[in-house]
Symmetry: C2
Subunit: 149 residues, 2 copies
DNA sequence: CCAAAATTGGACAAGCGAGTCCAGTACCTG
DNA sequence: CAGGTACTGGACTCGCTTGTCCAATTTTGG
């Protein structure tokens, strides 16, 4: 139900947030998150166009977050690459309803609202600081994070 | 976030549930739900293969639900055409985790779980009997349901 | 200035979702 | 049995998602 691109974008952003603020190159992110390099660069471009990351070319360049992990929510990342489409008007286009959804679509939209709310209330900092044995992108226990080469 | 096919399947099933138990033809459902006829027939075939509807060819034939609206949940319909894919193991395939999800994927899966739960706890009867002015598939106020021709 | 590092953008391909069309098959009625 | 009704299944199209590859561009460092 969540697209592959959303998954990739979240991995990339979580990895960026877990690194020092100087940022990472696309290759570094790709290696750490196991996302295909060439496709990841497309996803990152999309995040850049949405203003979630800055990019810097050339030696020493790479990607950086434009916000702190405390300020960036999962929802913002999801919406940057594939916006959560709430159901605001009757999908059958029946004028009788306008904004009043029928019971079916009200329930569907409620589910979407719950997802939206859950995503909006999780910041990247929440994800990174959650007390757990497993670091966000797995691989290593929380104490042995790899550092930038 | 919900596919068009899921939307169509739900419309079809809700319409079937709102009709007399003798069922409807594909054409009738298509007309009532504003779903393209030829595609709807594919969706209905899929519902039949999942055992949610029975089909009958020939004059007087059509589609019928195999359960009462009280027994049929939104989740069953959704799962028949596009199963809710919970995240059960680390999508990065990292063996370190096995079933333990990292904080990121735990949150994503939580959202999916909420949706699953919301869908599982809504039966078609719930949808049809909800006290509201708008009938499920819109078009008419609750008292002037069109009947089978 | 040159070369290496890094992002950017476009072209391309495979696969899937959505949708159409049509021939085939089963069923009922007369 | 004939003919109309209705579902079934396959072939096909179109566009989007995922993914690859490469040439162009920007930036830094020697």
């Amino acid at each position: 139900m969540l697209s592959q691109t959303v998954e990739y974008a979240l991995r990339a952003v979580v990895h960026l947030a877990s690194q020092a603020p100087q940022g990472c190159t696309t290759d570094e992110i790709a290696e750490a998150t196991l996302v295909p390099r060439a496709y990841l660069s497309k996803v990152l471009q999309s995040l850049r166009r949405s203003g979630l990351v800055n990019s810097q070319r050339g030696i020493g360049g790479g990607m950086t977050l434009t916000k702190t992990p405390q300020e960036l929510t999962i929802l913002e990342v999801v919406n940057a690459v594939e916006p959560v489409q709430r159901i605001r008007t009757c999908p059958l286009g029946l004028a009788t309803h306008g904004v009043r959804l029928c019971p079916l679509h009200k329930r569907l939209d409620n589910a979407l609202a719950m997802v939206e709310e859950a995503f909006a209330s999780s910041t990247l900092a929440d994800v990174l600081n959650e007390p757990t044995l497993s670091k966000p992108l797995c691989e290593f226990p929380s104490t042995m994070a790899p550092h930038r080469g």
